[in-house]
């Protein structure tokens, strides 16, 4: 019996190797040309809003199309967020791109991001969100080029934490004070 199970375990290892090879093929990604910097914890009360700034850096020698590159043929930079339930991400604001021309098209101005840039967004937990820390994940989709070539659309993953604090106590409608039984007029 021991021999049989040894063979079985060996075969499982073989299967694992084959599966890992498959996954290796599936995970064929282009070389990243944009990096996301770490983001500090965003602290916000339930029912309120806070702004998160997401810093990115384009590798030297490369540029990526801005959010509004000016041609429908060009692939814009777009932030996609996947927040947990009860936390909304709204009002995503992209910086204005730089108008640059390149050797491959000196007469044409392209609207791009190069170097460092920030994308900001509003974080808004609902009033009923339980206090605690929540992780928000997402990605920035971009398409990079250098002076001689362009690279397939890619994405850089993003993650930041939101610390939700208790919502401020609800102010109740003021009622008329009860008439004091001790006051007699």
């Amino acid at each position: 019996m021991k021999n049989g199970w040894r063979i079985a375990l060996g075969s499982i290892a073989l299967l694992g190797l084959a599966a890992a090879q498959q996954l290796g093929d599936l995970s064929r990604h282009p070389v990243p040309r944009v990096a996301a910097a770490p983001v500090s914890v965003v602290s916000v009360r339930a029912g309120s809003t806070a702004t998160v700034h997401l810093p990115f850096r384009v590798a030297p020698g490369f540029h990526i199309n801005s959010h509004q590159p000016g041609s429908e043929l060009l692939i814009p930079t777009v932030l996609h967020m996947d927040p947990p339930t009860d936390i909304a991400i709204a009002k995503v604001e992209y910086p204005a791109g730089k108008e640059l021309s390149f050797d491959f098209a000196p007469e044409e101005k392209l609207n791009v991001y190069a170097g460092e840039f920030d994308v900001s967004a509003m974080v808004r937990p609902t009033r009923n969100t339980s206090p605690g820390r929540y992780r928000v994940r997402g990605n920035l989709k971009y398409q990079a080029c250098d002076d001689r070539a362009c690279y397939p659309p890619a994405q850089v993953p993003i993650a930041f934490d939101v610390q939700v604090q208790k919502a401020p106590a609800t102010r109740r409608a003021r009622r008329n004070p009860p008439a004091s039984p001790h006051i007699h007029q």
Partner: protein, 211 residues
């Protein structure tokens, strides 16, 4: 307890060998695993070479003299094109996309060169790496006045040609189906023309090749 001598003696079934059940289960598991592993490996092989044949070109520049891997792709007007159908011609295989700025610079040059060298046996083939539907690429091609064959590419063919990470990437293939040169990124008109002339010379008088 008394034993009735008339009652037939019940024979106990022979005890199974202690390891038999376990071994049988293990063998079944092994067979299943080997079959699944074989299917995975076969699937991977088919996925990599689906609709295509030949040894993939390695990444990098050391590809001169290698046989250009064959493939079958669909043209913008819905026809099938196999690279091997072009055997005997010099082929400029240009990977490009509508969203690629440097690619657009090359397009008018390629149009002129197609016109100029077609009588000598040149065929330019643009392999669009767009994810957009062919109709959008076709409109772009029409707007640009592209006069050479354009096919819709895919990752499998890109893998056959070394991954094609950046665009444009151009392979110059001789009449014998062997790669004369690979050029990554935008280069000047003169360099493109020189590579075309080399491709036209290679394999002239011979159509045997690896396509």
């Amino acid at each position: 307890m008394e034993v009735d001598p008339n009652q037939p003696v019940q024979e106990m079934p022979p005890a199974p060998p202690p390891d038999d059940g376990g071994n049988r289960s293990a063998i079944i598991i092994v067979v299943v695993i080997l079959v699944v592993t074989g299917m995975l490996i076969a699937g991977r092989h088919m996925a990599r070479n689906g609709g295509s044949a030949g040894t993939p070109v390695p990444a990098g520049n050391n590809v001169k003299g290698a046989a250009a891997p064959d493939f079958e792709l669909t043209t913008l007007d819905g026809k099938k094109l196999r690279l091997s159908d072009l055997r005997g011609k010099a082929v400029l295989l240009n990977f490009w996309a509508t969203w690629c700025g440097p690619c657009k610079i090359e397009i008018p040059w390629l149009e002129d060169l197609q016109k100029q060298y077609a009588p000598q046996g040149l065929q330019i083939v643009g392999v669009s790496m767009d994810d957009d539907p062919p109709a959008k690429v076709a409109k772009f091609a029409q707007d640009q006045g592209i006069n050479y064959t354009v096919v819709m590419g895919n990752d499998k063919v890109a893998d056959l040609y070394g991954g094609v990470d950046g665009l444009p990437e151009t392979f110059y293939i001789g009449r014998d189906g062997k790669i004369v040169n690979r050029v990554m990124g935008l280069v000047g008109h003169k360099e493109i023309e020189e590579n075309i002339q080399s491709a036209l010379k290679q394999g002239a008088g011979s159509t045997a090749g690896g396509q």
